[in-house]
Amino acid sequence: MIRCYPALDAGPFDPVWRVVRARWMVVRQEVALNHRLLWSWLAALLALSMVLAACGSAPPAQAPTTAPATTAPATTAPAPTTAAAATAAPAPTEAPAARPGRGAGDTLRLLYWQAPTILNNHLAFGTKDIEASRLILEPLAAVDPEGNFVPLLAEEIPTVANGGVAQDFTSITWKLRKDIKWSDGSDFTAADVVFTYQYCADSKTACTSVAAFRGIKSVEALDEYTVKITWEAPNSYPYQVFTSQRGAIIQRAQFEQCVGDAASTAADCQAANLAPIGTGPYKVTEFKPGDVVVYEINERYRDPERPFFKRVELKGGGDAPSAARAVLQAGEVDWAWNLQVEAAVLQQLASQGGQGNLVTYNTANVERLLINFTNPDPALGEERGQLSQPHPFLTDLKVRQALALAIDRKAIAEQLYGPAGYPTCVLLWYPPFAQSVADIFTDCDQDVAAANRLLDEAGWQPGPDGIRVKDGKRLSMLFQTSVNTLRQKTQELIKANWAAIGVETELKSVDGSVFFGSDPGNPDNIGHFFADIQMYTTGATEPDPTAHLCGWISSAASQKENEWRGTNNMRWQNAGYDALCDQLRNELDPDRRVAIARQMDALIVSDVAMIPLVARPRVAGASKDLKGYNPSGWDAELWDIANWYK
């Protein structure tokens, strides 16, 4: 926000304005005005457009750091996943008995530093849109913080035991509640669910949620309140459709004419995208894209006692630090989303502010270092980063081990992340894979001596400048990440750690929208990975880790041939890992699935393909008098807003 324009603000175009003013003072001397003035304007505008372009690539420190949270359910077994409320126990879920009934509360003020721009969940461009739409549009089932499914529009969660999931896992049958009404008074039926699939199945609609529908053979309504989803092949995780944050059901009557291009271009559809009719506790009364959404109670909501607040106001914009200030210090809002603020600042605001509390809740996100297994040397030209060009030294396991050993993860987590991060040795840091933060930081303490020993053994000798050399190759690396204060500070710490073992590191930071962009012509994104090491946060969006873990298999390597769009951007090749992924995809037994996922995680760590650094719960801020919230890292954080009260 402040980053773009150095020091001005008479308008976005102030620098130009000044040039113009200066120019004008000269020109006014010439009594007869001539065309030169116009040319000077042209020049000024050129300058302006350059300023703009520069800004385009200089975005927000906070851009997409966190992978939007979540989606579905527990590893296959929708039953309780031993939810021993892992690390960050979500705050108060008090006995709803004490709470007064529907509409007893006044306005609930939510603050999102990224403003929602659309309320149709399937066309969402970011987490902010998914959250804002969740008050209106609901999926068949939500996922609670422990990873369990909670039926919303369905009567129960289908399982193999109750016959809802086919024995061979090729289909799932949802029984819908019969008492659900859309906010316009019409009945919610299976036709709406089937339509939601058809809407996104048309690729011209450009649903961003389309990945959940992959591999589906058919979605059919068996009767008015029963929906059957059939896949082409057995699906060990049949719950990703119509659940959690990307599974919202849209009303057929409202969107029927909006399939394909019309979704974005027809006037009725544009209006529908901004004011969808839903089944949720609220409906939109006013929406200014990129600014504010005002909701009021949906009188036809199924629970006559809820929601408590008459009105909800979701304001967007600004930045994370000022959002933290608004909720913790000024008390201007009741809830602030995703307070990605440096630990020191956040703790100071929380302790001195006195107006609000920090609320942390689990996600699967881990900030990690990814190691490039191919050679990113620009001298290779077209062959750069191809599998045919192994990395000169990062393919040496001992070097990778040394790099991992040298890092002080504890310092990074404690000094920089504070309440928003735990040091971790593994990627799967949440139940059922780990039960507490003690489980995830076990054997990866910093050990510089051991790291030095490993490099000595591998034959890397310190050169005259202290940097280790072997066969004429220097241990010198380029380390890239996105522009973000926390990340730059982490880079500095790691650089110092590596200097202690004779490894030279050059740091690079790329603007978030470029670093995470998918444009094939953009050499600075994570897909090209034209550096030796890169760092960012990602993790499964659902309690089931299959999609995330199987993203790193050999065949998914990001290469020129697939326009650098493979999910395995480190180009790690490991046959053992590929085999485990196949097993995981075909295993239907929940316990064995957990065991396989753990093995895969262990293999990533022991082969040092990635170096997990910090497990990242999400941090929100809540005013002191707000109660009943139970944000889930596997679903939208506002998934149970009907239960919130004061």
Partner: protein
């Protein structure tokens, strides 16, 4: 005069075409991705993002996209925003009132403060008042608005709790009470912007006055026995206003485009905020529309300023 105007307006056409092409090319060539938000999210894999890019037409070469954009524009279609999937003009129309309100009021306040200060400073140069005004002016335009903005927030919102720092754009002014709320929430952003603009404007007024005060016609006026007040306000001030008024006219387009930094700090949903967000999200149609409208306004007000100059100074004739 009419011929002159016609010539200027015709000349504006190639200028605007050139501007739009350059902006479009730069936007198209700059890396960035509307879906970057989802990059690290395994539930939106790269091929899905690619397909969406394609459906938004982002994979065509830039010149083809430009021709399409221009053709649509000639039919009056500004395109739709990728992020909201609504017509761009709707978004702009929705945000214009806030920007005009806040930035416009700040501009007016700046003018009304700067002119008297500038006059007094010029009439009594290097007096105590002039020194104070000069200091104030330099502070005003040296301090960046994000700094003064934060300072005011910390003081008036966090410490004293007098003023809100989250702008409520849903507020409708229907009675005295809501008017007061509106004034309260506009107070800090307007102050910040006005401080900044007053600073430079004061210096211009002062300079223009100083230039005219020793002029022959002022001496003649005094010799006729006119009071000092009549000389300063009736003669010197009127002549000094010529450059200032044209300057102010040229500043009007910036009022329409808002104030990026101030709007962000106070979360005002103005045009500047829309512009910067759209740039960050690679929402090309919105960026194009705002910058192009700005270009049109600049060209237009440039013509107006020239014409105005002729009216204020009868010595200038356009033939």
């Amino acid at each position: 005069m009419a011929r002159y105007l016609l010539r200027r307006l015709l000349f504006a056409i190639p200028t605007l075409l050139g501007i739009s092409m350059v902006i479009f090319a730069i936007l198209a060539l700059a890396p960035g991705d509307p879906l970057a938000q989802f990059a690290a999210d395994p539930s939106v894999p790269p091929e899905v993002r690619e397909r969406i890019r394609e459906s938004l037409g982002l994979n065509d070469p830039w010149y083809i996209r430009y021709v399409k954009w221009l053709a649509a524009l000639l039919r009056g279609d500004w395109g739709y925003s990728f992020a909201s999937r609504v017509p761009v003009l709707d978004l702009i129309v929705q945000r214009l009132p806030q920007t005009l309100q806040v930035v416009g009021v700040a501009y007016l306040v700046a003018i009304f403060i700067a002119i008297p200060i500038g006059i007094v400073s010029a009439v009594r140069p290097y007096s105590l008042f002039d020194n104070l005004a000069t200091t104030f002016a330099f502070i005003g335009f040296s301090l960046p608005t994000f700094f003064t903005g934060l300072l005011l927030i910390l003081l008036f919102s966090v410490r004293l709790r007098w003023l809100p720092f989250i702008y409520d754009s849903t507020l409708k002014v229907v009675n005295w009470e809501t008017l007061w709320l509106q004034v309260r929430q506009m107070l800090m952003p307007v102050t910040v912007l006005a401080l900044f603009q007053t600073g430079s404007l004061t210096r211009f007024v002062r300079a223009a006055m100083l230039e005219n005060l020793p002029a022959d016609y002022a001496r003649t006026a005094r010799a006729k026995g006119l009071s000092e007040q009549a000389v300063v306000l009736g003669h010197v001030f009127r002549n000094s206003m010529i450059p200032v008024v044209t300057l102010l006219a040229l500043g009007v387009p910036t009022v329409f485009t808002g104030a990026i930094v101030t709007e962000q700090i106070f979360r005002i949903n103005g045009i500047g905020e829309l512009l910067i967000k759209s740039i960050q999200n690679s929402d090309t149609p919105v960026v194009m529309a705002i910058t192009f409208i700005f270009a049109v306004l600049v060209v237009l007000f440039n013509v107006i300023a020239d014409v105005l100059y002729g009216i204020l100074d009868p010595r200038i004739r356009y033939d």
